[in-house]
């Protein structure tokens, strides 16, 4: 039975991985920022503001990757009932929400010079906002019950329902006329972006991924400790 599986093995693995991930995060982000902010060319159209891209685009990618993590963990929790999957889902949603918030804020900062407004209610922007709401709803729902397991299961169902939003985010620029520009890096038929911009972009993306991993492990560890504490308190009252 999975319920009796001991999560200490996972924790040992995670602890071993943690320093390497943290080092990778520092290295990748450092070199990415250095290349991106100082060494890459300014855009012929956008000028220096293009450098927001190195913060904005990977954050938007991680917002979606975070939700994918959340949805997969939720599926695993509902199917195999493994408590670790519950912890992973709970850990993923605030991290994903943070990346979503970064993407929204940097997008807004970018929009001001590019489109002349902080915010427009177009399909891409709106669906990302919905993503943020889904994260918030997930966090609120999982914590709204006295019994944490009940909260975990309700949250898992919600996370799966929200998966429909992911393709909408990804393809909204193709399906509707939007201000936001269509995919130029990750698209069928090859990238349309200058390689001098590609390199720092991918360094940053790798760095964000490492940060996500570090944060996830730290959150899972904290949640696990919290749950153990609760169990100890409960078993004391049994005495």
């Amino acid at each position: 039975m999975h319920r009796f599986a001991n999560p200490t093995r996972f924790l040992r693995l995670a602890n071993a991985l943690l320093p390497w991930l943290a080092a990778a995060a520092v290295l990748l982000l450092g070199s990415g920022l250095w290349l991106g902010l100082l060494r890459s060319p300014a855009d012929y159209q956008q000028g220096e503001t293009v450098r927001i891209m190195y913060v904005h685009v990977p954050a938007a990618w991680m917002a979606m990757a975070g939700y994918t993590t959340l949805a997969l963990s939720s599926l695993a929790f509902l199917v195999w009932k493994h408590p670790l999957a519950d912890l992973a889902a709970r850990a993923a949603s605030p991290i994903g929400a943070s990346f979503t918030a970064i993407a929204l804020v940097t997008g807004a900062l970018w929009g001001q010079p590019m489109w002349g407004t902080w915010w427009v209610w177009d399909a891409r922007l709106t669906s990302v906002l919905v993503l943020l709401f889904l994260y918030l709803g997930h966090m609120a729902l999982t914590n709204a019950f006295d019994d944490p397991e009940r909260g975990g299961r309700a949250g898992a169902v919600l996370a799966l329902v929200g998966v429909v939003n992911l393709p909408i985010i990804k393809f909204s620029v193709d399906w509707w006329n939007t201000l936001h520009q269509p995919a130029s890096v990750l698209r069928l038929g090859g990238s349309t972006i200058d390689p001098a911009m590609m390199k720092p972009l991918f360094l940053m993306a790798g760095g964000y991924l490492a940060v996500f991993g570090v944060a996830l492990i730290l959150r899972i560890r904290a949640l696990y400790a919290e749950r153990r504490l609760r169990q100890l308190r409960l078993s004391l009252t049994d005495a």
Partner: protein, 221 residues
Amino acid sequence: MNGFLALIGRDLRLARRQGADVAMTLAFFVVVVALFPLGLGPTPALLARIAGGVLWVTALLAAMLSFDRLFQQDADDGGLDLLALSGLPLVLVALAKAVAHWLTTGLPTVLLAPLLALTLDLPAAAYPALVIGLLLGTPTVSLLGTVGAALVVGARRAGVLVALIVLPLTIPVLIFGVAAVEAGGAGLPIQPHLTLLAALLAAAIPLAPLAAGAALRQAVE
């Protein structure tokens, strides 16, 4: 199938006996819609411009008011256990609840909307889009609300929580619904928008009860 109809029948009868929920929804609808001319000043051009949006947003919010009670009342009095043990699959329980909800809140809203549109000076050409759009959109809202209601059974502050969960999911309905009204008012074809609304409904009819049924199973266990 018999059990399915019986459940709808019971909920309709309860709604008729109590009356409060339907009246509350409708009164809220009227008051909020009435507020806009009062608050914005009766500039007909402005009102006409925002009429579609106001009616749609308000219809959506009015539906939210009743969702938290949809299953919670049954859960509190033990009735949810009984439904789970009725032999009727929980997916059908959820669907029946959604149907009853739509009949008691969605349908009255649809019927009331054209009347309220009059007070907002909605262009005459926009009425078909408004009514057909609501007719196609409000069932989707009821279905999505059923998912939210099933998820928050037993949660604290369920009323706000259910709105927080359901509203983002209903945004596409809102966008296409309003787009249809605007297109109608501007003399553009409304059919593409209505088709999208119908597509959303067609997707929601099987999927939402599935999700809601799964959520109810979590709630009783």
